[in-house]
C-alpha cells in the first residue's frame, strides 16, 4: 500500500466496529425478538398475535434492509474519510 499504514489500520478498526454494531442489531431483531425473547414480548399485541410473531415474519426482514443501507452509507463515507475510496 502506498498509503499511511496507520490510516489503513484505523480504517479497518472503524469498519470492524461498525460491523459488530450492525450484527448485534441483526441478531437482536431475529434471534432475540423473533425467537428467544418472544415469550417476554407476548403481552404486546399486534393484530391477533404478539410482537415476537411480527418480528419473526416481517420485523426482522425490514430491520435487515435498514441495516444494509445504513452500513453501505456509513462505509462509503468512511472510504472517503480515510481516502481509501475508489477513484
Amino acid at each position: 500500500m502506498s498509503h499511511d499504514p496507520q490510516n489503513a489500520v484505523e480504517y479497518w478498526k472503524a469498519n470492524l466496529r461498525l460491523i459488530v454494531g450492525c450484527l448485534v442489531v441483526w441478531a437482536f431483531v431475529s434471534y432475540g425478538c423473533g425467537i428467544l425473547f418472544r415469550p417476554l414480548l407476548a403481552g404486546i399485541h399486534v393484530g391477533g398475535t404478539d410482537l415476537g410473531f411480527w418480528f419473526a415474519q416481517q420485523g426482522s426482514i425490514l430491520s435487515f434492509i435498514v441495516l444494509i443501507f445504513f452500513y453501505a452509507w456509513r462505509m462509503n463515507a468512511l472510504d472517503r474519510k480515510f481516502g481509501l475510496h475508489e477513484e
Binding site: S30, G47, G48, I65, D79, E87
Partner: protein, 588 residues
Amino acid sequence: MSQFAINILFVGGSFALYIAIAIWAKAGSTKDFYVAGGGVHPVTNGMAIGADWMSAASFISMAGLIAAGGYANSTFLMGWTGGYVLLAMLLAPYLRKFGKFTVPEFIGDRFYSKNARLVAVICLIVASVTYVIGQMAGAGVAFSRFLEVDATMGLIIAAVVVFVYAVLGGMKGITYTQVAQYCVLIVAYTIPAVFISLQLTGNPIPALGLFSDHTASGMPILDKLNQVITDLGFNEYTADVDNKLNMVLFTLTLMIGTAGLPHVIIRFFTVPKVADARWSAGWALVFIALLYLTAPAVASMARLNLMNTIYPEGTQSAPIQYDDRPNWVKEWETTGLIQYTDKNGDGRIQLYNDTPAFQSQAEARGWKGNELEVNRDILVLANPEIANLPGWVIGLIAAGGLAAALSTAAGLLLAISSAVSHDLIKGSINPNISEKGELMAARISMSVAIVVATYLGANPPGFAAQVVALAFGIAAASLFPALMMGIFSKRVNNTGAISGMLVGLAFTLVYIFVYKGWLFIPGTNNLADTPDNWVLGISPLSIGAIGAIINFVVAFAVSSATEEPPQEIQDLVESVRYPRGATGAVDH
C-alpha cells in the same frame, strides 16, 4: 379463450422475451461470460440477485411451508433474508475488490493452495447440482399442471430455453434475463395476493392484511385462522415453539448458508465498484423482501381459504360433498398432488389433524381418519383458483413459477460451468488455454451441466426433498467460514483452511447421513429422523451452523500450530480490505 390458451400465451410470451434478451446480450469475452463485463448497475444487479436467489423453493414452496408450520417456519423468512446482512458486511465488498471470476479462485489464491481451490470446487459443485435438481423438478411440475404436457417434455422445453440464453449470453445474458424474470415473478406473486387480501380483509397490501381484521367474522385474521384450525385438531398457527435451540440453529444455518452460496456471491462480481457491491446487497434485499413480506400473508390466507372451501358452513357443520368439490381440486387431483379417500363412506371430505388427542372428537362426529391429502407445494400455484380469480391470473402464476425456477437454474449453471472451465481447466489442467478456448470450454461445460441437471430433474434420485439440508449445510459448513477467515484473518494459513473445510464438511455430512441415510439411500440411516433421536434436539437441517463453528475452531487451531502465511498473502488480505485500487474483474 380457454385457460390452456391463456397459459400458453403467458408462458410462451415470457420465454420469447428471455430469448430476445439473450440474442441482444451475447457474450463476446470470458469477462462478459463470467461477470457480465463488470459494468452492471447496483440496482440492476440487486434485481438480478433477487431472481437469482428466489428459486422454485421461495416462489412455489415457501408459502406452503409457512402455511403448514405457522410461526415455527418463520425460520425460512428470517434465514433466507438475514444472510444478505452477512454478505453485505462480511463477504461481498471484499470479494469484489479481489476482482477475480470465481469463488474457488479466491480460496485458492488466499490459501496459496491448489488443493484448497479443489476442495472449494467440489463443495461448489455438490451444493449447486443438488440445488439445480430442485429447480428443474419445480419447472416440471409447473409445466405438467399448466401446459398439460408430460413433465419430462416440460423439462426439456425449459432446458432448451435456459440453454439458449445461458450458453449464448453467459453472465451477461443471465443478468438481463434475470431482471426480466424478477419482474415477471414479482408481479405474478403479488397480484393474486392483493386480490386475496382484499377479499379476506379489505386491505390491498397483503403484508398489512396479515395483521388486519377478517371482514367476514370481524376478528383479527390470525385469530380466526387459529380458531378454525384448532377446531380441526391442528396446532395454533401462531403457537410458540418449545425447541428454541433448534430454531436458532436452523435459522443460523440458512443465513450463513445463503451467504456462502457461490451462485449468489458471483453476482456481486458484476458491479463496477466496491461501494456498488454494498449498495447492491441492499437493493437485492429490497427486491427479495417484496416477495418475502407477502409470503407469510399468502400462507395464512391460503390456509384459511382452503379450510373455508372444505367447511363452507363453518368447522362445526358438515364438510362439503366430494361431488360438489370445486374445479381446482379436480384439476390438482389429476396430478396426484391432491388425494381423496372416503374413509367413512359418507361422500364428504373430512380434512382434519388425525392425532390421538383429537381422536374422541373425530369419533363423536363419525370421522374415520383424514380424507384429503394436500401437497403443500401446490398452495401458491393453486392460490388464484382457490380464490376464484380470473384466468389471466392463473396464466401469470404459471409464467412466474417458471421464471423463478429458470432464473435460479441459470445462476447455478453459471456457477458450475465457471468452476469447471476457470478453476479446473484453466486453473489446473491447462493453464495456457487461450481466451477463446476458455470461453468455448465454459460453454461446453454449461451444456453438459444442463444435460445432467435435466436428467436428474426428470429422474430425481429420491433425495430432491433433502436439497435444503445438503446445499445449505455444505455452503454453511465449508465455503462461508473459509471465505470469511480469508478476509478477516491474516493468520489462517493453507493447512488450517483446508483442515477446517474438510472437518466442518465431514461433520455436517455425517450428521445428515446418520438420520437421512448414507448418500440419502433409503433404509441406510443409523437412527430414525425424529426429534427424540437428535443430539440435544438439533435436527439434521440445523447442523450446518455447528459445522461452521467447528470449521472456524479447527482452522484457527491448526493455523496457530503451523507457520504464518507468506508476506505476499498477508499483503493480498490487506489489499482486499481497502477499496482503493480496485479494478474490474480481471483474468489473471
